[in-house]
Subunit: 110 residues, 2 copies
């Protein structure tokens, strides 16, 4: 099983940035669940897409963003959870002035 300390991670240590597109990192991957980070600099976009058989959530760790959910848009900020049930198109744009740091879960794991 390895060291149990490997089962605790500080989210801030896994945040980051890319110039060309939004930043992704994996925290943990099991059969049933993938947990990772999505970080968007101001103006960056994760284009709307869907996962036919996967439930997904975003937890906003820092910043704020405009999320697409189906044909609608919703605003979410630090401390909010955005839920994208299986089959619902979803995406996000950082329309704030600081990095948008998201903890993301996808089940089952892709």
């Amino acid at each position: 099983m390895g060291c149990m300390m490997d089962l605790v991670k500080t989210v801030a240590d896994y945040a980051g940035a890319r110039e060309d597109k939004f930043f992704k990192a994996t925290l943990f991957r099991g059969t049933a669940l993938l947990l990772g980070m999505n970080c968007l600099e101001p103006g960056q976009v994760q284009p709307p897409h869907d996962h036919v058989d996967q439930d997904k959530f975003y937890y906003v760790v820092a910043g704020n963003g405009r999320f697409w959910l189906g044909d609608e848009q919703v605003q979410a900020a630090a401390g909010d959870v955005v839920w994208a049930p299986a089959g619902l198109a979803h995406g996000v744009r950082n329309d704030g002035h600081e990095r948008l740091t998201l903890l993301v879960g996808i089940a089952p794991a892709p």
Copy 2:
């Protein structure tokens, strides 16, 4: 599908306390994933237990706790994720001085 605003929830609005045992609330439930809150007042315990076929995580929103993972114990504080893969016994004790507020995910949903 109802109003998309129902797909955004502020975690702090779902925190709470019970005197007799730790507090639980459901945020979202899909087929593949259940997302909810566990809140422990100082001294409260979620006894170690396991989910044979379910991956689980705790994200520490506020406070700090001592988590059981198998035979070991690890400390985690606000901003940390604790991962309990399917089959690994896990639990938590609030050994701090403020409420321990946890965002919890279980996949597949129980």
